[in-house]
């Protein structure tokens, strides 16, 4: 209770500062753009950024909401951030729809509690277009350095991609029979042997449906549908079920989980076509109580320290050159060719299609 009351009073007290700091930042961003355009020496930008660093340290705290639930890396990154800037990070985790509704209703009630939200590209579009709960992205030093395909139209500072592939039970599938591509899944020999994340609801299965429907085509998806897939909605438990021998194949599997299942009779396969992926990143929430700390965090997440942490776990980094020196199996997953992702604007249409095909 005390934290909250102090928090609300803090918010009230800082609202004036906040307005000022936002104005300041608009000016800063503006001048940054101008200086970049004019080709001014880098130290001018550095000086501006240095001001953000100082202000962020003064704020001393960051409230992070994340839709990536239960990942130990979240805490690891927060600790690294605290070590770098001396800013404490408080983390609130909940599943995507729950945390989005919390932010929406908090803001509607005038409670601006959180600074940064770690979520997916698709969700960001909803935050931005439907809830209008996010601020435009600030330009930070690292934001210029990330790969071009990760510089987005939506106001999300990309951080990493979660790759999805195929998992097999090595006790049930002989090496010669292993599926090598998404197309192999349609082979009739797998009929009744595939456990699949439910493609009829937002989630991994739907991601697979979306990307293969677009890239391989409706016929392929229909062929897979005739395989008598068994549906599930629990990613991790499904991996275990497959490992225990209930099914030969589980798909699509979160590739980065491979390290948690070492010792089990399973193999993670990167399909030849590539891995469907979900792009995760940070958004700045409206009227963030610690706006400068938030900017530092956004920047930090795109910097080499965090990018290397994620690459080391098998996620796809957005900053080039982060996979050097990784063990071969991790490197292969982290560098896997990105196949496709979902498009929020087409979601209703594609969900309806999926429901129609996978009755």
């Amino acid at each position: 209770m005390t934290t909250n009351t102090s928090m609300t009073s803090f918010i009230q007290k800082t609202s004036a500062i906040q307005k000022w700091s936002r104005r300041f930042f608009m000016a800063a961003a503006g001048s940054l753009a101008i200086s970049a355009a004019a080709g001014l020496p880098a130290f001018a930008q550095d000086a501006e950024w240095q001001k953000v660093v100082e202000a962020g340290k003064k704020e001393g705290k960051l409230i992070l909401y994340t839709a990536l639930v239960g990942q130990p890396s979240t805490k690891q990154i927060a600790a690294a951030f605290t070590k770098e800037y001396g800013i404490e990070v408080e983390i609130l985790e909940a599943r995507a729809s729950e945390i989005r509704e919390r932010v929406r209703v908090e803001q509607a009630a005038g409670r601006f509690a959180a600074d940064v939200m770690f979520t997916s590209e698709g969700q960001t579009m909803l935050y931005d277009k439907e809830d209008k709960s996010v601020d435009p992205l600030p330009a930070t030093p690292n934001s210029q350095k990330i790969g071009d395909k990760f510089k987005l139209k939506v106001p999300m500072a990309s951080v990493m991609t979660i790759p999805y592939g195929i998992m097999i039970n090595t006790g049930l599938v002989k090496p010669a029979d292993e599926p090598k591509s998404w197309k192999d899944i349609a082979d009739p020999k797998w009929q009744g042997k595939i456990l699949s994340d439910d493609p009829r609801a937002i989630g991994a299965g739907y991601l697979w449906f979306f990307s293969t429907y677009d890239k391989i085509g409706e016929d392929y998806v229909k062929k897979v549908a005739s395989q008598k897939l068994v549906f599930t909605r629990d990613q991790r438990e499904s991996q275990r079920r497959t490992a225990r021998g209930e099914y030969s194949i589980y798909m699509p599997v979160i590739m980065t989980d491979f390290s948690d299942l070492k010792g089990l009779p399973v193999k993670f396969i990167i399909p030849e076509e590539g891995v469907p992926y979900v792009l995760y990143g940070n958004v700045m929430l409206k009227k963030a109580p610690h706006p400068n700390a938030a900017k530092l965090y956004l920047d930090f997440m795109q910097g080499p320290v965090v990018q290397k942490i994620y690459a080391g776990l098998g996620y796809g980094p957005v900053l080039p050159g982060m996979t050097d020196g990784l063990p071969a199996d991790v490197k292969a997953i982290s560098e896997a060719k990105l196949y496709g992702t979902t498009d929020t604007t087409r979601q209703n249409e594609m969900l309806a299609k999926s429901k129609d095909i996978f009755k």
């Binding site: 928090m7 729809s97 209703v105 991790r236």
Partner: protein, 588 residues
């Protein structure tokens, strides 16, 4: 002999002003203003806890956008639920719920009777053991049953194939039967706990008279025991049936692969798995279901009207047990079988699995204590334990106190508004948890700024009290139905003050029910996730939130370790509680 009509409630109230009334009424006699104020306060509390969040949800169902967003009022939500498909799903849901409630209630009655009214050996130990599955998070028992009874490599089917040499599986948990079975795993212990003290508190002289008049044991059981239990039985039936309509874990886990749909999986999907959460649809559907369920409450009122079910009277009360002779080994065997199937099989899996690196891979080199170490070294876990203990102790006590007051007024007074508070206390039970969680979020977040509830531990506490109230009121209602009015009057005649009477009679005699209600509420709080995840704040994580995070990250074994520790706590609680009850009964 059917129901005792000797002192109907109306009779008491009519004579009350001049001679007696009951203790509570008299305490306020001449001060009806105070009574009015007390009643108003109670209505305000219940209103805040139940009507306010539901009103937010009602707004959500009638408005094109959730609270705080521009939109318009319309009936699109209600229009969109009126589909043939939903009607089929509804029929399916009701069918599943009946299919689990009726056998559950039958088994629970039988078990309660065995434990409370017969001389079955080891019934004290059995009483604690057979309720254990109720206290394990559903996701864990679901996982355990998935391992035991999947058609491909389930342990039961492997054993069956080995025994018979056949290839067909004996059981398949991913089916209607599986969904119902998994629900029964929770409803049988719940109903048993809910009823067992009512059985214990029954004066055996009524049964004895029946036997002496020549009725058979079966007729006596039917016409005396069961009929006297009518308030408890109808309450049990309703609690269980309504819960059956709202449960979604079983259907999601075991029903989805088999294409089984229930109303709550539809609601779950509309919030969690659509392009954007459709709160208007989810809330409209929930209110439609709620309307249907309220018919049940009215049915119960109608059933119990004007009847009296007092079994605890001022006369000598000798809670003796029925001597079954050699049959007691049959009842014993039944309990042991029940214990083996519902407790040993699933919990044995969890216990075994917690000592291996992975569930289901029981080889020597996989043996480890790492899951225990990981849990004990997890500071977030300990913080959650602290929070949950505080919330559980405060929440369960407050909930039971509130429930006792509401039940007292609705059963033992004829005050204006007693039906109102009784039905208000039902409301949270009729709203699916995940929708009600959203209701609390909206309600508490939208409170004016200076009221510091949202984002604090108080938000969780208030939500838990609201969620627990239906059970606490039902438990206490059942207990108060059984206490005779003579007891209160007798106490007053002998010069006891109102407070003494309340303490000695209404509290002391209803204590076992209070204790059971407390345990149910406490563990309800421990398990609650839907509201917790929407209301917790940084630092106020509860155990359920931590479990969810671990589960989401694939640490099923650690979740089991915590589940087993929760179960240990139950054993301690129940053991203490039952020792107290026994000590009390022997004093009577």
């Amino acid at each position: 002999m059917t129901i005792i009509h000797n002192r109907p409630l109306d009779d008491i109230a009519e004579t009350a002003p001049t001679i007696a009334g009951n203790a509570f009424t008299r305490a306020f006699s001449g001060g009806s203003l105070w009574r009015l104020i007390g009643m108003l306060v109670l209505i305000l509390i219940l209103g805040f806890l139940t009507i306010y969040p539901l009103a937010m949800l009602l707004y959500g169902s009638l408005h094109s956008t959730p609270p705080g967003m521009a939109g318009e009022f319309n009936l699109n939500g209600y229009r969109s639920i009126m589909t043939t498909q939903n009607l089929i799903v509804l029929a399916n849901t009701i069918g599943i719920s009946l299919a689990k409630t009726i056998p559950s209630l039958t088994i629970a009655v039988f078990l309660a009777w065995i434990v409370a009214r017969t001389d079955t050996p080891f019934r004290g130990t059995l009483e604690v053991l057979i309720t254990l599955p109720f206290f394990i998070p559903p996701i864990l028992t679901a996982m355990a049953w998935g391992m035991l009874a999947n058609p491909q490599v389930g342990v039961i089917n492997m054993v069956w194939r080995w025994l018979t040499g056949g290839t067909d599986p004996l059981v398949n948990i991913y089916s209607y039967g599986g969904v119902i079975w998994h629900m029964c795993q929770y409803s049988i212990p719940f109903l048993f706990l809910f009823m067992v003290d009512a059985f214990r508190a029954m004066d055996p002289s009524l049964e004895e008279s029946s036997r002496m008049c020549g009725a058979s044991r079966w007729t006596t059981f039917r016409k005396i025991t069961l009929l006297l239990m009518l308030p408890v039985l109808t309450s049990s039936f309703m609690l269980s049936f309504i819960k059956g309509i709202e449960t979604f874990e079983s259907a999601l886990f075991f029903g989805l692969p088999a294409g089984i749909k229930v109303i709550t999986t539809d609601i779950y999907e509309s919030i969690n798995h659509r392009a954007t959460p459709d709160y208007q649809y989810a809330t409209s559907l929930s209110f439609a279901i709620m309307g249907l369920m309220f018919l049940l409450v009215i049915w119960q009122w109608w059933m119990l009207r004007g009847k009296s079910f007092q079994t605890v009277t001022g006369k000598g009360f000798r809670p003796s047990v029925m001597e079954l002779g050699p049959w007691r080994w049959v009842t014993f065997a039944f309990c042991v079988l029940f214990f083996f199937i519902t407790v040993v099989l699933p919990i044995g899996q969890l216990m075994l699995g917690s000592f291996f690196r992975f569930f289901g891979f029981y080889t020597y080199d996989m043996l480890t204590l790492e899951h225990y170490r990981a849990v004990f070294a997890n500071s977030e876990f300990w913080r959650a334990v602290r929070n949950t203990m505080v919330l559980g102790l405060l929440g369960a006590t407050a909930t039971m106190a509130l429930g006792a007051v509401v039940a007292y007024i609705s059963v033992r007074t004829r005050w204006r508004g007693r039906n109102l508070i009784d039905s208000m206390a039902w409301l949270p039970w009729m709203m699916p948890g995940m929708v009600l969680g959203v209701g609390f979020l909206w309600a508490f977040a939208m409170l004016p700024g200076p009221i510091p509830i949202y984002g604090t531990i108080w938000a969780l506490l208030l939500a838990y009290i609201a969620l627990g109230t239906p059970v606490s009121v039902r438990v206490m209602t059942g207990a108060y139905h059984q206490l005779s009015y003579d007891l209160e009057e007798c106490s007053r005649v002998h010069g006891a003050t109102w407070a003494q009477t309340m303490w000695r009679i209404m509290v002391a005699l209803a204590w076992p029910a209070f204790a059971v209600g407390w345990v149910l509420t406490f563990f309800g709080i421990m398990r609650e996730l839907s509201a917790s995840i929407l209301l917790y704040s940084v630092g106020s994580e509860t155990l359920a939130v931590v479990l969810m995070k671990l589960w989401a990250n694939g640490n099923a074994e650690q979740v089991s370790v915590i589940g087993l520790m929760m179960m240990l706590l139950v054993i301690v609680f129940r053991w203490v509680q039952l020792s107290f009850i026994k000590a009390r009964i022997s004093k009577l």
